[in-house]
Subunit: 285 residues, 2 copies
């Protein structure tokens, strides 16, 4: 955004999945579109807080005024430790919590399982004028769902089309989807899990199940490849964000959000009352 930033290509253009996309070709340590180093990246992240806050406040103002028609929905998917929590905390956490709707999707409950996989998702779509965040999402149902055969193969197959239709409908309602896969390497994940095991105050972040899933790394990468290929559409494209460098991933997602909000270009709502008359009433009160 600012002239001093080190983006040579916009984050959206550098990260958007295109034809012939191969996840295996993307280096998790790379910094697509960005020429700066960690120091520059951190400075740019700091510099991006104000425009993100401003755009989000304008959108929120519209929701209060009842004039909002659009919203933004950040969908975060990733292998464990890739940094979803850090994005929520350091990128989304910079804006006014009043305008944010955060939904964390855990293992489905019995009730959720008794419905179509999109049932619990639809209920959490952001209201107009809000910034929604999905920490995991309907994609779990074609990721762990596929890797662990949690549904019959034909049902998994059906879901790709169902997701495309669902997201097209959401877009039609004015929801701007920002779909992000945080892409870490298997080695980097080992290091991050090991760090959690080393420090007692991080033990709560570790789950033996993480290693079980890790042992199916290649299956997961294949499931991501297929899911991304089949659900990346012009209206709801995927972005694969290399995430071995946390500073880059945060900066990139911040830029994607700024882009999406700039695209809505929310204006401050006009007063729906007589400003001069209200000044008089107020002065007399």
């Amino acid at each position: 955004m600012s002239t001093s930033s080190s983006w040579s290509t916009s984050a959206a253009d550098a990260l958007r999945v295109g034809p012939g996309f191969r996840l295996a070709d993307i280096d998790p340590r790379s910094t697509p579109g960005y020429d700066g180093d960690k120091t520059a990246g951190r400075a740019d992240l700091e510099a991006g807080r104000a425009p993100l806050e401003d755009l989000q406040e304008r959108l929120f103002a519209q929701s209060v005024a009842g004039t909002a028609t659009g919203s933004v929905l950040l969908v975060l998917q990733a292998m464990d430790t890739a940094g979803k929590g850090g994005i929520v905390r350091h990128v989304v956490g910079a804006v006014d919590p009043q305008g944010v709707e955060l939904a964390s999707f855990k293992k489905p409950t019995a009730e959720e399982l008794s419905h179509d996989f999109l049932w619990r998702i639809e209920k959490r779509l952001p209201d107009a004028g809000r910034l929604g965040v999905f920490d995991r999402s309907h994609y779990e149902d074609v990721l762990i769902g596929r890797v662990r055969s949690l549904a019959p193969a034909p049902e998994i197959e059906r879901r790709y089309g169902a997701i495309v239709a669902f997201e097209a409908e959401a877009a039609e309602m004015g929801i701007r989807l920002v779909k992000v896969m945080l892409h870490i390497s298997k080695d980097e994940q080992r290091e991050r899990l090991a760090a959690r095991l080393e420090r007692p105050e991080k033990h709560w972040k570790y789950n033996p199940g993480d290693v079980d899933e890790r042992q199916r790394w290649d299956d997961y990468m294949e499931a991501y490849q297929i899911a991304i290929e089949r659900t990346s559409t012009p209206i709801a494209p995927w972005h694969v964000v290399p995430a071995d460098r946390k500073w880059y991933a945060r900066l990139a997602v911040q830029q994607l959000l700024i882009d999406a909000l700039s695209d809505i270009d929310p204006q401050w709502p006009a007063a729906d009352y007589d400003v001069e008359e209200e000044k008089r009433r107020l002065a007399a009160s």
Copy 2:
């Protein structure tokens, strides 16, 4: 908390409502318990971010580990412009959004009105391990409810007792209530409303209804006096926070939250798995 802070008395002790409490005796420009000026106050607010974040993360860790038994619920009540939004943004906004449950209570819907006034409130009580925030609350039903006679007088009367019983039950469930009235003066409100009318990008924050309520200022102060008197209990006391100085109000609420969390004293959850065994499994994966 830190030795360099300018608190002579803890915020909780300085602000807790006691016997013989008179709202009219509290100066909205005062800074009870705090000897520092605005510059010191801002520095102390900044210094309080880390301990608040740390305590909240410990509590959240317990909720993830399934060992949390307690939670904190900040109840914010105030006249318009007193700064509830600023508290949410600058105090609560400093902690990890994943552990926060924010509920804004607007004018009740038809469905909500068809139930007891506590029906919509109960549903939004924070889960164990969370920091809940009520931006307005069940107290509206004895504030605007009383001033505007939105319910018959005997029903309003009944509500004070119902609130005391409800909050005792919530406390029993492990919810630590931090009830805060942000107390501004009528003059300060005029200035803040006038500022909103002066700047087009603030027009959305102004509502002609604000002046209608303002014209009943004395009735509101009386309703607050009665509500605070009748619902301040040892387990769920009220705190009246002078709010003409925004920096003081934010600092004071931050301290109240730190106190409440310190009182829970959440410890990092112990691993429920064999750490050494997991290190081996991870290394081999």
